[in-house]
Structures are given as structure tokens and as C-alpha cells.
């Protein structure tokens, strides 16, 4: 306690216990520090990683407008090969990490991931059908695979929601979990079936998609996913305080003034939307959605008003850096990033866990 506070305390004859209270940083300060720190990290990741890669490029040449784009190899590598990957990595990382935070709070289960409730399995099935039966429809900025996977995710979301929501009552988290896990297995079986009847080349393409890959090839799919993620994030912004109280249980949340049905619905649909957008852009990239929330909690505590924005920023940085590894570790071979997230994130997470204990 600072000296003036001590004087004030003794003047008012506050019981001795008050003096035992540790100095506590107000939430405003903690939030500002966290956002500044993680924001700097995310920004650094997004600015530095496009410069790195198997081919050395010169930034001055890349931005030199006197050279025609067709002849400017540096510019082509920077703007066509690397920048879209970095941007989609940041978008997908932020979306999956925050969706993980929200699902973990909604289900009151630290093992929940954005894929627990079957959203990604639905998305994968949609993508498989298009990849294997070679359907090529699409409109606007949406091409066939993302469109189909988004539709699949929406169907899965609707089924799980319908099953877990009794009339005008709070969602049953047990039913949500069971319905999600069952739907996951069901869709996985359908995916295997579709892959089994496909020919070798189609099956190979499909299994590559299932590994998750940020090599989106152009800006078009990113532009299509941005509004979806933006809507999800706007919904997330209304949630953090309610998520804190909801993690005590629905009854405890209700008696602290949370409209439980509304908050659960908002959490469920916003997290499902973020997951659908991320998976339809880059496939089901695993591990980000479970490990980033836990890493962030180990660093900043469990208050969702801090964890949620911090996870968005850290998730973006994490996936962008993982993708740098995917591009460079076995260069010139490029790995799908989904292979690397768990390989990098797993040991790091275990190290943090052990160090803390």
C-alpha cells in the first residue's frame, strides 16, 4: 500500500485486515498493458514474417513501382506468395483462438475446442463433397470449397443448437457436448466414406485440405472471410463479463444479473460463426483453438475481459509464426501449417505447464 493510502486507512480506523490487502492493479490498467503487449507481438509477427522465407527478397525492390509487376520477382513473392498467407494466418489464428475461449467458457470445460461441437466436421464434409465430386459453383468472392464448407458448418451448428435448447430454458452443456461429439463422429464417418469412394488424386487433395493450410493463393477468400469474422468479433465484444459469471454455472450467472439464455445463444452463435469462417478459409487447423486460450490464461489470468482480446492478438501472432515455420523449415518443401501448430505448440505448452507447477 502506498504511504498516502496508509494514512487514509489509519485515519478512518479501518480494521487491520484492510492493510493486508495486496495492491491490486485496476482492470483498466491490466487491459491496457495486455493489449499493448500482445498487440505489439501480433504487429511484429505480421510485419516481419513476410520478409522471411526460403527466398531472400529486397523490400525496396518489392515496393519499387518503377519496375513492372510482371518483372518484379521480389514484389511477386511479397504480395502474391507471402502477404496473403500472413493475413489469412492472422485472421484464422485470431478467430480460432477467440472461438476456443468462448466455447471453453460456454461449456465450462477447459478441454473444449472450436471443433468440439462439430462445426469443423460439418465444414469438412461440405468441403469434401465439393473436392471429390468436383462441384464448381460459387458467387461473388466465394468460391466453391469455402462456400460448401461454410454451409456444412452452418448445418452442423443448427443441428447442435436444435438438440441442446429446450424451450425458453438455458442450454444444457451436457447435451451440447454429447450432441457435438456424436455429430463429429457421424460427419467423420461420412467424410471417410466419401474419401473411400473417391479416386486417388481426389482423396489426396481432400486429405491435404483436412490438414489445414494457409496457402490461400489470393486475397479473394480473405476478403470473403473478413466480414464474417468481424461480425463474430462484434458479438464477442458483448460477452466477456457474462462469460466470467457464466463460468460459475447458469444459476449463479442468473442471480448476478446475466440473461443466461441470451448470453449462451450469443456465445454459441458467435463462436460457431468465427470457427466456420476460419475453417472455410484454411481448413481445420488444429490446436490453435485450445492451446492459445490456455497459454494466454497462464500469462494474464482468467478474466475473460482480458483473455478474449489477448487471445485474438496472441492467436494471430502464434499462427503467423507457425506458418513461417511451415514455409521455411523444410524449404523448398512447404508443410501445411496444421501439421506444425501442434508440433510447435505442444512442447511449448507442456513447458509452461511444468514450469508453473
Amino acid at each position: 500500500m502506498s504511504p498516502p493510502a496508509r494514512v487514509a486507512a489509519s485515519a478512518r480506523q479501518v480494521p487491520a485486515q484492510v492493510r493486508e490487502l495486496p495492491a491490486i492493479r485496476p482492470i483498466r490498467t491490466r487491459l491496457a498493458i495486455t493489449i499493448a503487449g500482445f498487440g505489439a507481438l501480433a504487429l511484429a509477427a505480421c510485419l516481419l514474417t513476410p520478409l522471411l522465407g526460403s527466398t531472400r527478397i529486397s523490400l525496396t525492390r518489392a515496393f519499387d513501382r518503377s519496375i513492372p509487376f510482371a518483372d518484379n520477382v521480389d514484389a511477386q513473392i511479397f504480395f502474391v506468395a507471402r502477404l496473403p498467407r500472413v493475413l489469412s494466418g492472422a485472421l484464422v489464428g485470431a478467430a480460432l483462438a477467440t472461438a476456443g475461449v468462448v466455447f471453453q467458457a460456454l461449456l465450462r470445460n477447459p478441454l473444449a475446442t472450436p471443433f468440439t461441437l462439430g462445426v469443423s466436421a460439418g465444414a469438412s464434409l461440405g468441403a469434401m463433397l465439393v473436392l471429390i465430386f468436383g462441384i464448381s459453383i460459387g458467387f461473388g468472392p466465394f468460391s466453391a470449397v469455402p462456400l460448401a464448407s461454410f454451409a456444412g458448418a452452418a448445418v452442423a451448428t443448427a443441428i447442435v443448437y436444435r438438440l441442446a435448447t429446450p424451450y425458453r430454458r438455458a442450454m444444457s452443456t451436457a447435451v451440447l457436448l454429447l450432441a457435438g461429439v456424436t455429430l463429429n463422429s457421424f460427419f467423420s464417418a461420412l467424410i471417410m466414406f466419401v474419401q473411400y469412394i473417391a479416386d486417388f488424386a481426389q482423396a489426396y487433395r481432400a486429405s491435404r485440405w483436412l490438414m489445414g493450410d494457409l496457402d490461400v493463393g489470393s486475397y479473394q477468400p480473405i476478403i470473403a472471410a473478413v466480414p464474417l469474422v468481424a461480425v463474430a468479433f462484434a458479438m464477442f465484444a458483448m460477452l466477456p463479463a457474462a462469460l466470467n459469471v457464466l463460468s460459475l454455472g447458469p444459476d449463479a450467472a442468473a442471480t448476478r444479473g446475466v440473461d443466461v439464455v441470451r448470453a449462451q445463444r450469443l456465445a454459441f452463435f458467435s463462436a460457431s460463426l468465427a470457427t466456420s469462417a476460419a475453417v472455410s478459409l484454411a481448413g481445420p487447423i488444429g490446436f490453435v483453438g485450445i492451446v492459445v486460450p490456455h497459454l494466454v490464461r497462464l500469462m494474464v489470468g482468467v478474466d475473460h475481459r482480458i483473455v478474449l482480446p489477448a487471445s485474438a492478438l496472441f492467436g494471430a501472432a502464434f499462427l503467423v509464426v507457425c506458418d513461417l515455420g511451415a514455409r521455411t523449415l523444410l524449404a523448398p518443401v512447404e508443410l501445411p501449417v496444421g501439421v506444425l501448430t501442434a508440433m510447435i505448440g505442444g512442447p511449448f505448452f507442456l513447458w509452461l505447464l511444468v514450469r508453473r507447477a
Binding site: 485486515q17 490487502l21 483498466r28 444459476d251
Partner: protein, 277 residues
């Protein structure tokens, strides 16, 4: 009347739930599976009311209805003449706080964070707690003797400490009415008396109206000015503690022969169970 329940009926397998969910395990919708039947209770401002009755008699259900967590199928709950049904969860939580039997947070919140959650109904949608809220939380920590635990993780506390922290969280809500569901059930004798004196103090000095569900007849006798006896979902009797708590009612309620007499040194009626009927 601060808080009153008027002819409440509630069933967990009621028509509304029945249609969508089917009856719960072992429940029969067509039978008389009402958790509460035609219950009327009135809680005077500033009073400390005890809710007694055997397991499964509907104490917790009644508390949840009084808190607005459950909506009655028949009848109504009124808070200062306004029906709870028409108030938002937030408006109710600004007046009524609840201390449940047990609280298990899914994440490792600190004690201070748990207590500050009590400020939730008083904060706007995007508002972060300010110095005033922190001062209220500190006051609640001091009142419950948990100030030294403020930065500890809630999950690492003992049962008695947890219960006091949850009470502190409820106090930070600055409620007019506090509903407690067996607040001393998992505590040792020392903590039981400590919680009892804490509740008495809060009731006397801050004029917090309290409703307390408990199995501890002696605790009820020492604390409560009014008792409501519940059996099989309906009210057996309600009135001043000294009139209601007798060996006859204990026998009726629990099927237990007991000596009920005034204890000089304790300063209240005590119940000594002798044998099962």
C-alpha cells in the same frame, strides 16, 4: 412486504418442460410430481427467515423461485409489490443475491475476481469496475474476514473459506435480500458459528433481509426470527421461531422424537434429537 410468494406451484417435469424435454429420470408428468404445491410465503423487510424441511421437500426450488432463477408455473413472486416475472435478471440481481450450496468456477479465478463478480448487475454492458466497485468489494472481503485471501486462487481455498468468499461476492451485490441455501452444510463447528454470527451481524447492522434454507435446526433457532416449515412441497406451518419450533413439529417434519427446550447459556431454543419415530 419485501418479498412474497403467492400460491406458487412448480414442477420440474411441468407442461412446458414436458413438451420439449420429456419428463426427467424417474419423474412422472401425469402424477403429482410437483416440487412445490400452492406455497405462499411472506418475508418481512429486515427479517431473518429460516426454511426447514426434510430432503427433497422443495427448499432449494423455493429459493430459486424467490430468486427468479426458476419461473413459477402457477402463482407469483413479488418483490416490493412488483412481480419478479416482469423484472429483468439484472434488475432482480440489483436487489436479491443468492449464496448457493456450492460454487464451482470452471477457471481459476482469484478471490478478488470472484467478489468483484458481485458488481456485475451494477455495471453497464461495456463498463469495467471502477474505484467505487473495488471499495465495495474490499468492504465485503473485510466483513467476511477474507481480505487476506484476496489474491489467492478460489479453488485452493478450504470449504469454509470458499463459503465466506461466496458470501462476500453476494454482499458486493449490495442486496436488499440475501437468499442462502444451506450455507453451513459443509463447514466444521467453528466455521458454522462464524458464518452464523456473520449473518446475524449483516442482518442487524445492514438491515439485509435474509432467507436461509438449512437442515441445522439449532442454527435456525439461534438465527431466525421466523420459520417456514416445508413438507412434500407444501407449507406445513410458518410463524415466529419460538412458536413454530416444537417437539411436535420436529416429529411431524422429520419423523424424529426430539427434546426442544430453551437453553440458558445459548440464549435460544435448542433441539436434541432422541430417536427415530
Amino acid at each position: 412486504m419485501t418479498l412474497s410468494a403467492d400460491r406458487l406451484s412448480y414442477s420440474y417435469s411441468g407442461p412446458r418442460n414436458h413438451v420439449r424435454q420429456g419428463p426427467p429420470e424417474g419423474g412422472h408428468y401425469d402424477g403429482a410430481e410437483f416440487a412445490l404445491r400452492d406455497v405462499s410465503v411472506s418475508v418481512a423487510p429486515g427479517s431473518l427467515t429460516g426454511l426447514l424441511g426434510p430432503n427433497g421437500c422443495g427448499k432449494t426450488t423455493l429459493l430459486k423461485l424467490l430468486a427468479g432463477v426458476l419461473k413459477p408455473e402457477l402463482g407469483s413472486v413479488r418483490l416490493k409489490e412488483r412481480e419478479l416475472r416482469v423484472l429483468s435478471a439484472r434488475a432482480i440481481a440489483q436487489q436479491i443475491a443468492v449464496v448457493p450450496q456450492e460454487t464451482h468456477p470452471a477457471f481459476e479465478f482469484t478471490v478478488l475476481e470472484m467478489v468483484l463478480m458481485g458488481r456485475h448487475p451494477h455495471l453497464g454492458a461495456f463498463q469495467l469496475e471502477g474505484p467505487d466497485d473495488l471499495a465495495i468489494a474490499r468492504e465485503a472481503l473485510v466483513a467476511t474476514g477474507t481480505a487476506h485471501l484476496a489474491s489467492r486462487s478460489y479453488t485452493t481455498l478450504s470449504g469454509g473459506e470458499k463459503q465466506r468468499v461466496v458470501i462476500a461476492s453476494a454482499l458486493a451485490q449490495k442486496p436488499k435480500v440475501l437468499l442462502l441455501d444451506e450455507p453451513t452444510a459443509s463447514l466444521d463447528l467453528g466455521y458454522q458459528l462464524e458464518i452464523a454470527s456473520l449473518l446475524k451481524e449483516l442482518n442487524r447492522e445492514r438491515r439485509v433481509t435474509m432467507v436461509l434454507a438449512t437442515h441445522d435446526l439449532n442454527l435456525a433457532a439461534s438465527l431466525c426470527d421466523t420459520l417456514v416449515l416445508l413438507r412434500e412441497g407444501h407449507v406445513l406451518m410458518q410463524g415466529p421461531t419460538n412458536e413454530v419450533l416444537t417437539s411436535a413439529t420436529v416429529q411431524q417434519l422429520y419423523g424424529v422424537i426430539a427434546d426442544v427446550s430453551f437453553h440458558e447459556r445459548a440464549g435460544h431454543v435448542t433441539v436434541i434429537p432422541v430417536r427415530r419415530q
